[in-house]
């Protein structure tokens, strides 16, 4: 068996930082933040499709992580736990952002248009397409294809039927493929 030394070292380093954070060491928390904040921001941006909101949500994730770090018992990798916290916060952030009319009359938010996605700056090719997806399709695609959640878990997180999660995923994939092929 080949051991990935770099990954093992990095995991050990993260575990040590988490242990120090659990003792209240803010310096260690800053190191954890530096290691992980970019990936958390990318996840928030993919889910929220709006850089300013993604930045706010990313901050909220780390504030909550600091407050709940005692609850992390090491049963999963820290990054897995962190991403589940981030996914839940981004989803509730999205719900909070809906204005009164959108809450009263439930309708789906469309994604950004091509021009809007281009204006988001330094996104890679796939991310530029993801932010163009309609909201539900985008959320399901990111949670399933990027974050690896099962449709049953996504259905639970997004209050939708498992079948809807699957159909939204296929809808997203078809749209992405169509845009990619036409690009």
């Amino acid at each position: 068996m080949i051991i990935n030394a770099k990954a093992a070292f990095s995991q050990e380093q993260t575990d040590a930082l988490v242990a120090r954070c659990q003792q209240g060491d803010q310096g260690a928390f800053r190191e954890l933040f530096e290691q992980h904040h970019r990936r958390v921001y990318a996840l928030c941006l993919r889910l929220l499709a709006e850089p300013a909101h993604a930045e706010d949500a990313c901050q909220e994730v780390f504030v909550q992580v600091w407050q709940k770090i005692d609850q992390f018992k090491g049963q999963s990798q820290f990054s897995t736990w962190l991403h589940s916290v981030a996914s839940n916060i981004a989803i509730s952030y999205l719900r909070k952002q809906k204005n009164w009319f959108q809450k009263v009359v439930s309708f789906e938010q469309s994604g950004l248009d091509e021009q809007g996605a281009e204006q988001l700056g330094e996104l890679n090719g796939l991310d530029k397409l993801i932010v163009r997806l309609p909201e539900r399709a985008r959320l399901v695609f990111v949670l399933h294809a990027v974050e690896g959640y099962r449709h049953e878990e996504i259905a639970n997180m997004l209050n939708m039927a498992v079948g809807s999660s699957k159909s939204q995923y296929h809808r997203a994939r078809n749209l992405l493929q169509e845009w990619y092929n036409n690009d």
Binding site: Q26, F29, R30, F33, E34, H37, R38, R39, Y41, A42, L45, P51, A52, H53, A54, E55, D56, C58, Q59, E60, F62, V63, Q64, V65, W66, Q67, K68, Q71, S84, V85, N88, I89, S92, Q97, N99, W100, F101, V104, L120, G121, E122, L123, N124, G125, L126, D127, A145, V146, L176, Q177, Y180, N181
Partner: protein, 159 residues
């Protein structure tokens, strides 16, 4: 050069950590401020009292609005509710005046809710006794109070 298949393109993009987007501003400053504020600076009793008073103000406001709507759907309901909520809103804004907010765009959100408030008030001018519209107005007011409370004293969602 041939274009890679969609699956190849997706696989490459999802595994390329170097091309992940980065935030435009320094996020650590806000996180640091929030975690230091979250530590008990005041005595727990004082802190709890402040939280309770915020919650109580909102609950009381909601209950009173509901009572006003249900008990007297008359011409003066709108003026009563508006005056009452305006007073509540102003007192919360004064209470949190010196406290920094945790999100940068809360005033934009508040303006959006105020626009919604104006739209409902306009509709109520045409149909002053419409209970659904009065209820909607109360909800918009409630959301304004919740927003002001939330950005200044966030009750973090469950992880």
């Amino acid at each position: 050069m041939t274009k890679p298949s969609f699956d190849e393109f997706m696989h490459t993009a999802l595994n390329d950590e170097q091309s992940q987007p980065a935030p435009q501003r320094d996020l650590w400053q806000g996180v640091e401020r929030a975690i230091n504020q979250a530590q008990p600076v005041q005595s727990p009793k004082q802190s709890n009292w402040q939280k309770l008073s915020g919650i109580a103000a909102c609950t009381f406001a909601g209950l009173l609005a509901w009572q006003v709507i249900m008990s007297q759907p008359k011409q003066d309901s709108l003026a009563n509710i508006s005056a009452f909520f305006e007073q509540q809103k102003q007192s919360l804004l004064v209470q949190y005046e010196t406290q920094p907010a945790l999100t940068s765009d809360w005033q934009t959100q508040l303006q959006e809710l105020e626009q919604a408030e104006l739209a409902v008030k306009l509709a109520l001018k045409q149909d002053p006794e419409n209970a659904a519209l009065l209820n909607m107005l109360a909800q918009v007011y409630q959301q304004q109070l919740d927003l002001i409370n939330k950005v200044h004293e966030p009750r973090w969602q469950q992880i």
